[in-house]
Amino acid sequence: MAKKLMKGCEAIAEAAIQAGCRYFFGYPITPQNDIPEYMSLRLPQVGGCFLQAESEVAAINMVYGAGGAGARVMTSSSSPGISLKQEGISTIAGAEVPCVIVNMMRGGPGLGNIQASQGDYFQAVKGGGHGDYRCVVYAPSSIQETVDLMPKAFDTADNYRIPVIILADGLIGQMMEPVELHMNPNPVLPEKPWAAQGWDPKGTRPRAVINSLYIETEDLDGLMTRLNARYDVIREKEVMVEKYHTEGAEYILCAYGTVARVCKAAVRILEENGVKAGLVRPITLWPFPTKEVHEVFAQESVKGGLTVEISNGQMVEDIRLAVNGIKPVEYMGKGGSVIPSAEDIAERIMQMRRA
C-alpha cells in the first residue's frame, strides 16, 4: 500500500483495527481525542463496537470485561486519565487478561498541561497500579513505528495474557507523517478457551473464572510464580532496542520516543564536528534492554553517556542500573514539556568532552 499522510492518533486507531481490534472503550481527554473519534466511526463499519464510557475507571473495566470475554480490545487516554485507569490495569494484570492501552503522555503532575511529555515513564514501567505486576511497554518514536508496533502489541498481549501499553508522547499523536498501513481485512486471531463466553457443562472446556482474587496465601503465591515465569520469558524474548552509530562511539546518548529523533540529529551535528557519538533507543521500556545498553557502554571507546528526556529524569535511573557504574551517565531534560534542541544536546556533549 502507498504511503498516506496521517495524523498519529488516527493512524494508531486504524492500525489497531487492522490488527484485529474490534472493541474500544474510552473517555475523552486531550491530546488523544482523535483516537476515540476515529474509532467511533470506523469500528461499527467492521462489525466492532465503540463505546464512550462515563469515566476512565468505567472504560478500563469495560476493557476488562471485553478482554475477559476473549475480544481484542483497546483503550486510549492521556496521563491524568491513565492514572484513573490504574485500578483496572492492576486488575487486568492480576486476572491475566490481554488488552492494549495507549497513553499519549501530556505534562504532569496533576492536570499539568496538554503538551507532550515523558513524565509517565515510572507509572508505565514500574507499576502504576497497586501490587506486583508488569505491563509490556512499547515506546515508538514515529507514527510509522507506532503503526508497525500495533499488531505486535496485540499479539504480545494475547500470547502472554498481559496488558500492553503503547507509551507515546503527545507529539506522536498530534503530528502528521507519511505512513504505510498494513491492511489486513481478515486478521486471524488466536483461540481463547479460557475466556468467558457462556459455558457448556457437558463440554470439555473448564468453567471460566476471570478473577484477580486469590484469598489463600498459597494460591496468590501460585499466581505470582506463574506471572514471574512469564515475565522472565518476556525479558528473554521481547526486548526491542535501536542502536544508532553506537559502534566505536565516544559518547552515547540515551532517549526514547520523539526525543530520540532529536538525539539522532544531535549525533549528526557531533559527527560533523568530529565527535563520534551514538544513540541507544529502547523501543521496549519494559522489558528494558539492560544487557544491550550495558554492552554499548562497555565498549572501550565509550567515555560516558547522556540521557535526554522530556521529564525530570526517569529513564535515566534504568540506564544507570544497566551501565552499573562502569561509565558516567548524565541527565539532560526538562519536566515542563520543553523539548531540547539538537544543538543544545550536542553542546552538552561538547561540554562533557571538555570537562
Partner: protein, 244 residues
C-alpha cells in the same frame, strides 16, 4: 419415591461461606433457579462483587468474572458488547453499588445496557465488618456510626430502585424483601422478570433485595428478619417501580 426438591445444577456443590441467617444464600439459589428455568445456563455469565458475595464465582455453575469494588456494571458492559446474544448479570451489595459504584450503575442504566443487576441492600457493609453504608437507616448503629446514623452529618439513606427507575434506559426495576416466604417467592418472580427484560433486549434491569445481616446488625437470625420488616420495609417500600 417422588422427588419433591432438587438443588438446581446452576449452583455448584461448593458450600456457601455465609453467616447463619444471611440472605445471600437465598438469593444465590433464586438467581440460579431462574437461570435454570429460563434455560440460559450455557449462554449466561455473571459478575461477582467486592463484598460478602465476593466468592459467588465459586457457587455459580456458569462463566464468571470477579470485578473490582463497584465496577461490575462496567465489566458486564464489556462482556455484553462482545457477546450481545449472551446474558450477563451483576450481583452487588450496597457498598459496592450504592457507594463506590454509583457512576457505573447509573450509566449502565442510562445506556439501557442489556444486563441484569441483583442488588442486595442490607443497610451495612458486611465483609469489611459492619461499617455504615449509604443505605444505613437513620439512627442505625454501625462501626463507623457508633452513635447511630446522624442525617445532619451524613445524610439520609439512598433509595436506589426509585432513583434508577427515573432513568430512561431502565426497563425493569423492582424492590423485594426476604422477610417471609411469600416475599421470597415474589423476589424470585422479580428476578425472572429482570432476566426476561434482558432476554427481550428491553434495556437495563435491576432487582433490589432487602436482605438481613444478623452478624453486623448484632441480632439473632429471627430478630434480624423482624428488624428488616419493622425498619427497612417502611423506608424502602416494596414493589415494581418500572416495567417497560
Amino acid at each position: 419415591m417422588a422427588t419433591v426438591f432438587k438443588k438446581t445444577p446452576v449452583l455448584t456443590d461448593v458450600p456457601f461461606h455465609y453467616c447463619p441467617g444471611c440472605g445471600h444464600g437465598i438469593v444465590h439459589r433464586l438467581v440460579a433457579e431462574v437461570i435454570e428455568e429460563l434455560g440460559i445456563q450455557e449462554k449466561c455469565a455473571g459478575v461477582a462483587p467486592v463484598g460478602c458475595a465476593v466468592f459467588l464465582y465459586n457457587y455459580m455453575n456458569i462463566d464468571m468474572y470477579e470485578a473490582a469494588h463497584g465496577r461490575a456494571p462496567a465489566v458486564a458492559t464489556g462482556f455484553k458488547r462482545v457477546h450481545p446474544d449472551k446474558y450477563i448479570f451483576t450481583y452487588q451489595g450496597d457498598g459496592d453499588l450504592a457507594s463506590i459504584g454509583t457512576a457505573e450503575i447509573v450509566h449502565a442504566a442510562h445506556r439501557g445496557e442489556k444486563i441484569t443487576t441483583i442488588f442486595i441492600n442490607n443497610a451495612i457493609y458486611g465483609m469489611t465488618g459492619g461499617q455504615m453504608a449509604p443505605t444505613t437507616l437513620v439512627g442505625q448503629k454501625t462501626t463507623t456510626s457508633p452513635l447511630g446514623r446522624d442525617p445532619e452529618h451524613c445524610g439520609k439513606p439512598i433509595r436506589i430502585a426509585e432513583m434508577l427507575s427515573t432513568i430512561e434506559g431502565s426497563a425493569f426495576i423492582a424492590r423485594c424483601a426476604l422477610n417471609s416466604t411469600p416475599n421470597i417467592i415474589k423476589t424470585k418472580q422479580a428476578i425472572k422478570k429482570a432476566f426476561q427484560a434482558q432476554i427481550d433486549r428491553k434495556g437495563f434491569s435491576m432487582v433490589e433485595i432487602l436482605s438481613p445481616c444478623p452478624t453486623n446488625w448484632g441480632k439473632a437470625p429471627g430478630e434480624a428478619m423482624q428488624w428488616l420488616e419493622d425498619n427497612m420495609i417502611p423506608y424502602y417500600p416494596l414493589g415494581t417501580f418500572k416495567e417497560v
